[in-house]
């Protein structure tokens, strides 16, 4: 199952990377004379309400979704792990403060906070991703902190100290590599949700703006035609389904792979 997930994700990654080569038509070029045409050899996924080629838009959207997921996870991980490690290592007041701050951010469902932020700033994809990152980092901070607390009492840390290693060195060379496992699990499980949230935000109009070929936005643009010209909304939705499914399978596999190891370590 993990293998299937991995393959799916790799396919999407490949599509994302090769995007411009695979695209057969210009994704924003309109052909109003042929709008709402069904799938054909020339347009495998049909044309949308403005005569744009759905296939090319879905392909282009792959890049957007993959980059969105990666960007948010990266930012959230870097910020969260840094904060969590510092808190766990320093202990005391810093630790308490961080825990309370993460609690506060965790009190907001991500979509809701993203909406509030996009009401304040202009609604576009970048702001939406920023907002989602803001709600994602607390989870990583907590994991990193827990790992630091668990590992700092280990003998090899003591040994490193005895050898004269500074705090920074211990953090970087010993703690981070050993804390990577659960963080990896969390991020692979998170990416799917982030992609769904981004698509959801774009669907209601607070994420990517037209004419960007973002999948959620495409589903929204095709809503009125769902019963008759089903291809406009359905293909982007299927793309979302398979990409998220791929990441979920991958995440499950990563977790199954690393968890028994973690349990043996503990």
């Amino acid at each position: 199952m993990t293998l299937a997930g991995g393959i799916i994700v790799l396919c999407f990654l490949a599509i994302a990377l090769l995007g411009p080569i695979l695209v057969t038509q210009d994704p924003i070029a309109q052909d109003l004379g042929h709008r709402l045409t069904g799938p054909s050899r020339e347009h495998p996924f049909g044309l949308d309400s403005l005569g744009r080629d759905v296939f090319s838009r879905v392909i282009n959207g792959t890049r957007i979704s993959v980059v969105s997921g990666a960007a948010v996870v990266t930012v959230a991980t870097i910020f969260g792990v840094a904060a969590g490690m510092l808190a766990g290592w320093s202990g005391g007041w810093w630790d308490e403060a961080l825990m309370r701050i993460t609690d506060m951010f965790l009190a907001f469902p991500s979509l809701v906070l993203a909406m509030a932020i996009s009401a304040i700033l202009r609604p576009n994809l970048t702001n939406a991703l920023l907002a989602i990152a803001v709600t994602s980092w607390p989870a990583y901070a907590r994991i990193a902190r827990a790992q630091v607390l668990a590992l700092r009492a280990r003998t090899y840390i003591e040994a490193a100290r005895a050898q004269g290693a500074t705090d920074a060195v211990i953090l970087l060379r010993h703690l981070i590599p050993n804390a990577v496992a659960p963080i990896l699990v969390q991020s692979s499980l998170d990416v799917g949700n982030i992609i769904l949230t981004t698509a959801g935000l774009s669907f209601i109009g607070f994420g990517a703006q037209p004419p960007t070929p973002e999948w959620g936005l495409m589903v929204s643009e095709g809503r009125r035609f769902l019963m008759d010209q089903w291809w406009i909304s359905t293909f982007p939705a299927l793309a979302i389904l398979f990409l998220v499914l791929g990441f979920n399978l991958l995440g499950d596999g990563v977790r199954d792979l690393l968890d028994p190891r973690l349990r043996k370590l503990a």
């Binding site: 907001f108 979509l111 809701v112 698509a199 769902l226 359905t234 389904l241 399978l249």
Partner: protein, 337 residues
């Protein structure tokens, strides 16, 4: 530490977190790029007037003072005036909150009713075909975009096949039952209006299912995993060795312990329910908090947006607190950490 002390500690923590939540919403509201006074008075307002109004509203005071005023207003239930409908925001919220609670509760029930039995069957028939099918559904459920499923089901079941009623809480011809709780189905039940009750329930089915299937997937996976874990334990083997019937073993011994993590998951999915409600309510024209929040953002109605965000955060925190207390009640070991 006994249960009461644990509850007190967690409740105090939640209160503290809620203060933090108000701080976050306050900060967000003051990061508005446009000057709200200028927006209110119009671009050509003379600077003297702008300053005067700014002083009147209190926007020229130092930020901590403004925050104090903000908190004071909150305590009196004053969340400002909505720009959209010129009503106090708390009045808006009071009108729309019951509908969301009705929908979320129905969705959670759907999720539990589908999730726990499916997860149980899945665990008991591990790796055989019921398990495989259930796992596919559960995994698919957490990967599908909810807005598409809502559109698809609404289109097929309502537009094309006419099996279920369309968007909204009640049909156009059904009279709204008297306002007791604000939740239409509950009010119909309480006032004995069976026609309205039937209509309300029929309108509730689809949105509740759409909102709930994601959580159903999560609960299925959680129940399956945790039950498998529990069935491996020694005390289960002991019970079987003693000759206890299999059904009793599963129901009385295994399931009770396996459900503990599931309880936590239910609390966590409440948050995703509130998020998902935003999308679902918009598609089903459900007059709830989610749709209110969406409209507020579209109209850049800052007081309404922040009011709705605040309330949603409060509900979510409350749900988590409840789940934590429930978990501590069910599993005494937790209270000692």
């Amino acid at each position: 530490m006994n249960l009461l002390r644990y509850v007190a500690r967690r409740a105090a923590l939640t209160v503290f977190v809620l203060f933090g939540v108000t701080l976050i919403t306050f900060v967000i509201s003051h990061v508005v790029p446009a000057d709200p006074v200028v927006a209110y008075l119009g671009e050509h307002a003379p600077p003297a007037l702008v300053e005067k109004v700014r002083h009147q509203i209190g926007l020229d005071r130092p930020l901590p003072v403004q925050y104090a005023y903000y908190l004071r207003d909150l305590f009196h239930g004053n969340l400002g005036i909505s720009i959209m409908d010129n009503r106090p925001v708390n009045q808006d919220l009071r009108q729309y909150l019951p509908a969301t609670i009705e929908l979320s509760t129905a969705a959670i029930l759907v999720a539990i009713v589908i999730g726990i039995p499916t997860g149980t069957i899945s665990a008991l028939h591990k790796d055989r075909w019921p398990d495989q099918i259930a796992r596919v559904f559960a995994l698919g459920g957490t990967s599908l975009p909810v807005f598409y499923v809502a559109l698809l089901l609404l289109g097929l079941l309502y537009s094309r096949w006419g099996v279920l009623p369309g968007p909204g809480q009640l049909g156009i011809y059904t009279q709204t039952p008297p306002h007791i709780t604000g939740m239409v189905a509950v009010d119909a039940l309480l006032s004995g209006d069976w026609d309205a009750l039937r209509d309300a329930l029929r309108h509730l089915v689809l949105p509740a299912f759409v909102l709930g299937y994601y959580s159903a997937g999560l609960i299925t996976r959680m129940t399956r995993g945790s039950l498998l874990e529990v069935l491996r334990q020694d005390y289960v083997r002991t019970a079987r060795a003693k000759g206890v019937g299999e059904q009793r073993v599963v129901l009385r011994h295994a399931l009770r312990n396996a459900l503990l993590p599931t309880v936590t998951v239910i609390g966590l999915t409440y948050g995703s329910l509130l998020s998902g409600a935003v999308l679902t309510e918009t598609i089903f024209s459900w007059p709830g908090l989610g749709r209110y929040a969406t409209n507020s953002v579209t109209n850049v109605d800052i007081p309404a947006v922040l009011g709705a965000t605040l309330v949603i955060a409060i509900i979510y925190s409350g749900a988590n607190l409840f789940v934590d207390i429930l978990y501590a009640y069910l599993d005494p070991q937790i209270r000692y950490t």
